[in-house]
Symmetry: C2
Subunit: 648 residues, 2 copies
């Protein structure tokens, strides 16, 4: 039985059946439902924090070098020497972005993703642009990381190459299921693979350098063939910038820490900041090391064997235990990077839905307290991309980093504007907005310059990226982002308009009771179901008209005679339908009534509906009410009521 | 405005809008809607009757010879000499069936198809078997005839061979559209192609015989290659029976006249009977002539060139004007044969639906007064068969004639039983049933023997067919027909059960008015839509409970406070939902109310529903009512009412 409790002076009923977790077939896949009160509140330290938030950023070392070489390849292998200087430029950019984000972390202790920072400091339109860029970016993170992870596996086991698309899609589905279960980010599950990856990468790079210094590092044995279409082109500035753009994929994921600040132990801004700097340092070191060594061994970019695999089998001399361990570590960290997007995408889409820019359904938490709709949407779109691009990292990369750099630019511009505003506050004035507080900062000029410089750098990179990669596919994203912003805006308009129309503010109060209630009872034939509907109709009003649409005069006469006997004196109107239509004569009749309707008079159309024993029995009956509802829905003051009559 | 008229003492309203033909996008395809009163009543004479009803039967001469040769081919070309004796046996069988049907035509002046004859004389189960056999047969008529028609075209234009499936499906769709328009069987449209075909065939066969007799008829120049899989097998009795079975396809369509008797001018039975005999004579002559000449020229059965095409280019010496005219005439008559099935299938399915063995929807006549659902169903199934069997006549033939012979057997057994009953009536006694009258017939013994002999012959042929063609595909039909009968029977049971449950016979009268009417108003949030629903609810009853399902305590408190102000004093119950579900707590609550409900008390659940300006805006809202309706549908005494609130 129901428990009744008082909460804040409000009586709350707890119906017996709804207080235990419901069991459905879904429980088998994703575990038993969790109550709202079960939401975990858990914080993590720096070491675990690094493991949780770094996988996305660190995993990009698995493909960034290779993507630079892919572009340089059009100028022949001689141009591969430019890869290292390009990497140095990318690491310098990484340092600028890191310092800039370090400031964001301290200003936004509750989490400062590009969407929030833009919304707070630049306004709604830039925030939606950032949102569109980030959502695109998260989707591509899943596609690129999983594709790259699968590429590592197929490098080790070339026989699997032809099944790469299927393997990648299955992996996305598995990650989706895991996220629908809602992994408690327990740290240990993340820490083991991340630190295993770091161990293997430092071991690889360390042994590589040792062998380079001792002169025992040779070239790649049996390197994959370089695919050259036509003559080798000259090395141009455009080509170098193009290669640089591809390499900037290394920066993706660097913003993850700033989204996750609330997960850190106190002092959380400090801990998150330190974690960010560690992460950037490790990322820069590994990226430079890998690029340098790749140049030394003469690695060749290829769809069938990754640079990481070539590096591994050169340094470890063959596909032995260490090689396999390194490939496994790389594949796992890439899959984990995809997992990061599965945390970020649903969180951001719920945030945007809460602001009314995405369908409200994205804010609902599923049975396991996760934003299930966001998770499923991400999995579907990322899988589609994998199928369309045949799990090719090089094909996906041109779509990728532009969203990242757009969000970097907006986030840092927002921070620069914030510092400017902070500099114009009085010394002890505090402005509180959206959960972050703004107060006077004596160092505002320096901080503004740092974030501003970051914004300018990333904006330039974004432009370089857009120009050099336009034809490779970047145009898709350049067109997509404004389109997404338009969609978000339309959704927002709909909700705002609705809220205004439904609002009780300035509402003059309800009009008086409807003075008249007319009931129209549809009669197809006279049987027990009709009589049940008549009984229900007579509960509603004394003004009932039974309507029979006549397509066959003999049948109508029978209905009329039966009604005379069974119809309880309710008047019946026969509507002639020469074209054997059902809805149209009825609508014409309602039109006539409508024309002389009094204000506030309401019409209820009662439709008898027999409910067969099995749903598929409905195939044996016409579904008139469905169409009637569709047509009458848009007319004010008309309500349709189906009176079910259960057979059995 | 509405016209009001009295018809048979019943007032009939003619709402203004529904008295003119409605114009929709469909009118463009199938013409303006026709009023029920527009149904044509037109009768035809023998010459036109032959054209209308003979196309199906005559067209089988286009493939019957070829199908015999296909089977004999496994024994090598030497065995082709057996084709002519086999044809003679088939023509003898045709004579027996014709005489047998001649008697049916006189006994059933209102149309005596196998379904009606079986139903009247053998009972419901045999009738359903006949119905299943005939429906299968009509579908195959479309697939086989169109495939054969396309094969004639690709024989003349081999380049089209690879597009044969697409061409065949497009043709089926065109025939469907024409039938949805509802061709008035105006005679002339049928007469021209049928008589053109007869002219061309008699010309071909005539010139062929002339050249044969004058010794100038050579062999086929460049005949298609005979595909022989493995060694030539010996000629066995089984092989000859197998070839005979294939050739019986020539008999398909011979029953068409007996379905169409009401279309003939009076004396209709006489006219129809004479037409049947003409038709059978022409069919037999042509079939024998074609088979004989094919043997003389050494025609080779082939998927790429039909026997008719080989005959044509041998007799007319090349692909000249006469050859092309003959091929065109053959292709057109085959397409018209398919058109015959488009008249028969919808008519029979409407008849069976009227008897309650198929979904009632098949009895509805569309805007053009034709049974549109039957026409569409036939087109879809026949197209599927064409795609599955790649428009190959030889692959479809094993499925074909078994249904035809099953219906022949049932029809003639029914007639035999009828004569037996007629012989046991008193001289002036008349039994009237289903629109046909049975009276004493002095020649009943002779007539019974004729029909009985026909039944035995066709039953034997059916068995031979089933055995010899079992593995070629006949097993599909042998399994399908009992399955279809089972489906028909289940549908019938459903309708019968429903009618019994709804029947007012032995109904003790309606129970008294519901003593209490409880209204449950679902409140998600308090806004103008909610208040409109509250206003409606208070029209229904004074016993209203507003229910709010709480997934978020803060929101619930806001709703509760707003309700205190706006809720007009209606009591509100807050249902706690710890698992964030909406339906389950509500259902638990209704369960509780249900448990202590008085007899005849009724519950109405009122759900506010805002109607957005555009239907796709619904994607931005959850569709709770839909699921609520699904769940509550099966509970007696609960009605769900959505109160629409139009935004705009």
């Amino acid at each position: 039985m129901a428990l009744i409790e008082k909460e804040n002076g409000i009586t709350v009923l707890r119906p017996a059946g709804s207080q235990t977790p419901p069991r459905t077939w879904r429980s088998w896949f994703i575990g038993r439902p969790l109550a709202t009160a079960d939401a975990p509140h858990q914080t993590i330290g720096k070491l675990v924090g690094l493991a949780v938030f770094a996988s996305d950023a660190l995993s990009s070392t698995a493909y960034a070098t290779q993507e630079i070489l892919f572009i340089l390849a059009v100028a022949g292998t001689a141009s591969f020497g430019y890869a290292f200087p390009i990497s140095v430029a990318i690491v310098a950019l990484m340092a600028i972005v890191t310092i800039s984000y370090e400031q964001t972390i301290h200003a936004y202790p509750n989490g400062g993703g590009a969407y929030i920072v833009s919304r707070d400091n630049l306004g709604e339109l830039p925030a939606q642009v950032a949102g569109a860029a980030l959502l695109t970016d998260y989707i591509l993170t899943v596609s690129v990381s999983v594709s790259s992870g699968v590429a590592q596996i197929t490098s080790a086991y070339p026989a699997l190459f032809e099944h790469r698309v299927a393997i990648a899609v299955i992996m996305v589905m598995l990650i989706m299921l895991i996220n629908l279960r809602g992994v408690k980010e327990s740290g240990i599950t993340f820490a083991i693979p991340t630190y295993f990856f770091l161990l293997m990468m430092f071991l690889t790079v360390g042994i590589g350098f040792f062998r380079y210094l001792t002169g025992s590092l040779g070239a790649v044995p049996n390197p994959p063939e370089l695919e050259l279409h036509g003559m080798a082109q000259p090395v141009t500035l455009f080509l170098l910038l193009h290669a640089f753009s591809s390499g900037t994929a290394a920066l993706t994921g660097i913003e993850a820490v700033s989204n996750g600040i609330p997960a850190f132990k106190e002092p959380r801004s400090h801990n998150a900041g330190v974690t960010l700097i560690w992460m950037a340092s490790i990322l820069g070191t590994l990226f430079l090391g890998i690029t340098f060594l790749t140049g030394q061994i003469g690695g060749i970019p290829s769809e069938t064997e990754t640079i990481i695999s070539q590096l591994g089998r050169t340094i470890f001399e063959g596909r032995g235990f260490f090689y396999l361990a390194m490939i496994a570590a790389t594949a796992v960290i890439l899959i984990m990077a995809a997992n990061t997007a599965f945390a970020d995408f649903p969180r951001l889409s719920a945030l945007m839905a809460g602001d009314g820019f995405l369908p409200r359904q994205f804010t609902y938490r599923g049975s396991r307290l996760v934003y299930s709709r966001g998770i499923i949407a991400l999995a579907i779109i990322a899988s589609l991309l994998i199928v369309v691009f045949q799990a090719s990292v090089s094909a996906l990369i041109p779509l990728y980093a532009i969203g990242v750099f757009l969000s970097f630019t907006l986030s840092q511009s927002g921070m620069a504007r914030r510092w400017w505003r902070s500099g114009h506050l009085a010394a002890n004035q505090t402005v509180s907005e959206h959960g972050s507080t703004l107060h006077y900062d004596s160092q505002w000029k320096l901080k503004m310059v740092i974030n501003g410089f970051g914004a300018v750098c990333t904006a330039i990179v974004m432009l370089v990226f857009a120009v050099t990669k336009f034809r490779d596919g970047a145009y898709v994203v350049i067109l997509l982002i404004p389109f997404l912003v338009f969609i978000f805006w339309s959704i927002h308009n709909h909700y705002r308009h609705l809220a205004k129309r439904l609002s009780l503010r300035n509402f003059r109060g309800a009009p008086p009771r409807h003075p008249r209630h007319r009931v129209i009872l549809l009669v197809g034939g006279v049987h027990q179901g009709t009589l049940a509907a008549l009984r229900y109709a007579s509960l509603l009003s004394d003004d009932i008209t039974a309507i029979h649409v006549s397509t066959n005069p003999e049948e109508s006469e029978r209905v009329y005679r039966d009604w005379e006997w069974w119809g309880n004196g309710v008047r019946m109107v026969i509507l002639d339908s020469p074209y054997r239509l059902l809805l149209e004569p009825l609508l014409s009749y309602i039109d006539q009534i409508d024309a002389c309707r009094q204000p506030n008079e309401i019409i209820t159309v009662v439709v008898p509906h027999f409910v067969p024993r099995h749903w598929w029995h409905n195939l044996l009956h016409t579904q008139t009410t469905f169409w009637l509802r569709m047509v009458l829905l848009f007319r004010p003051g008309i309500v349709i009521t189906e009176v079910p009559y259960q057979i059995e």
